[in-house]
Amino acid sequence: MKVTKSRSMAMLAAFAALGLVAAGCGSSSSSSTEGVSATSITFGTHQPLTGPAAPGYSEIAPASQAYFNYVNAHGGVFGRKIHLIIKNDEYNPTNTVNVVHQLVLQEKVFGIFEGLGTPTHTKVVGFLNSSKIPDMFVASGCPCWDNGSAQPYTFGWQPNYTIEGKVMGEYIAKHFPGKKVGVLYQDDDFGQGGLAGIKDELPASAIVSAQPYQSGTETLAPQITAIKSAGAQVVVYFTVPIYTAIGQLTAFTLGYKPQLFVSNVGIDPTTVAGLLKTVSKGKASGTALIEGTYTNNYLPSVAETSNPWVALFKKIKEQYDPSVPFDGNVLYGMANAYTLVQALQAAGKNLTREDLVKAVNNNGAKWSGPGLVPFRYSATQHGGYSGVQMGRVEGGKVVMFGPKLTTEPTSGTPITTFNGSQPAPPASGIPSD
């Protein structure tokens, strides 16, 4: 009897406690736009700070933050300091859903910026658009961001993987005619988008083997063996850096040396060299296993130290983000942050979420910046950079060559040369609009 009573008392106590908790965190609604005040604006982002995609990519958001700190130190944008809350999602879509809800509903961010990854970010696009939260410049080239009518708040930034695949496919068709081609691709919209671009430019008979892998796997031996036994002489990787490293180590142990092409997201030489060393437990050093690999980019290579954009970002990195090497990931984070500042400048002083979206729709296509080619921004097109330039790993550095090529991510659209030149950055290093 005593126990029964004490149990019901415990239950009562539990309910009372729940009530107290509830009273403590009652809902609050504000009339003005959340995440922005006269002196600050807050964005949130989800990044793989640990997990399979972390090597290299974990540098991106801190580099963006470093650029924002530079802008903040020079007065911010319309007097507002830009804050970036970085949440670790470990490249796990379930975590992405959790942290993005936390950023929007609890941290009350103004928008999401540079959310990284295709399998991850696809799971929050619906939530962000139905909540009318600006989803700026996703760090992924999935063709799925490019839908301004259905997803008005989501903007891609880097060229979509189909554009990249088409340019590499055309290069293979021109310079390696008649060669057998193998493709290793991540089995999601990233790899599938790239594969679609390759298939668009090469005859079906040329592609002798297309092997998917799952993000999170620890071996690529089955895939590389299959590509090797199909007799592929040219191999294209749509991989994140860790799988570029694992793939090349596997090919090396199999004594397989095809001509390699790698998507720009998976080739940063500093990152891949570090991973090769880790994965091989110190046996592979340097970039020998990726030397001579063809790739492409839409930003200048970090090796071009005379490029004024590279010099600017290197200077900012040394002051605000000194602990990491200056590699492609850092350049990426800074260049993307530069674009966000352009958007904030264009959106004007009295800022709402709709203003920011409209600013990109109306002005984005005209922006010049660190990119080699123009953006494809309009009310319906939200796809980011319109093309790439080919590059090659030479002496452990990516060396860009050939014309800048732009195209549409749709099948059959021609690839055209872009002849515009890249203007130098403003002296302040901060876009004025």
Binding site: M9, A10, V97, F127
Partner: protein, 371 residues
Amino acid sequence: MSRVEARHEVDRPTPSGAPSRGGEPGALRWWRRHTLARSLTLLVGTALALGLLSELLNEYRDLQLADAAYYFAVLAGLSVLIGLSGQISLGHGALMAVGAYTAALLIGNEHWPLVPALIASVFVTTVVGVAVGAAASRLRGPYLAGATLAFAVGLPGLAYQYSGTFGGANGIAINPPAIPSALGSSFPLERWEAWIACAGAVLVAFALYNLTHSGVGRSWRAVRDDEIAATVSGLRVPRVQALAFTLSAACAGLGGGLLAVVLQLANPGAFPLVLSFYLLAAVVIGGLGSLLGAAWGAAILVLLPNWTHDLAQSFSLPDKVGANLPLAIYGLLLIVAMLAWPSGIQGGVRAGAGFIYGAVRARRAAGREIG
């Protein structure tokens, strides 16, 4: 374990025909005897309390309430399995995955409505639970833990192997549940998700409360305490154990289905191996064999990762340390709970409440004697 058990024995309804206790009012006696009446009151009361709670909370807290509710469904089943029937399972994360993928496939691809899809989740997971439970009833202790662990290790691999059906690492995304128009256009989606998940949790609590206070619950306890004695009393031990496992699998299936609805996603990343460990740790820390203990466990599962994240940030720990901090803290909590409160948080609360009640009664009795 035996301390927990002793309390349950006392809590059993008085068998009919037993001499009524002296001085107990008739209404209270009726209340004690009628499990269904008690559980129905509990059902309505908890549902009302949760509904009120969801109104008071902001959208993010509503989402956490929804998370806690689907974890509760799983933990309650696991708690009954371990605490009452005496079996252990390290495979409940995988059973959740079965429920989640069933719901996601049916809602996403076949466009089933919510409730039938959730019922199907429970059904499919129950079928899997029968198979695993049949094997489980032949195994004891560490062998049982090992077998269920193998299940948790192996099952997510299917999502990669048959990526055409299950979407590989990308998973299956589904649309958010439609909010009934009667609730108005400004009703937040997160609150509606909390309602759905809480409804599932309350139903699980209702079912388990009745079962554990019935002959089934008694047969579980009998089997747990002494299999030979239970056999001699006419119980078929393997069948009793398999029933407990199947039932707890059904709860895990519902929890998994609700997870898919709340996250609008089923992907292997939601069901890593550590999930099964987290679930086990949460029921032990919360209090084995008790529904309120499962509620404490669910609260810990939802709140602890955020707290540890804030902790890691405020001490600016490296990301690699921060990401592994929750697991370390679960381990620590588990050790502390084992040392301080072997019957978990709920055991601690119960002991505290019992102490206060005892003190009050002693004072009252003393007062009466003097008067």
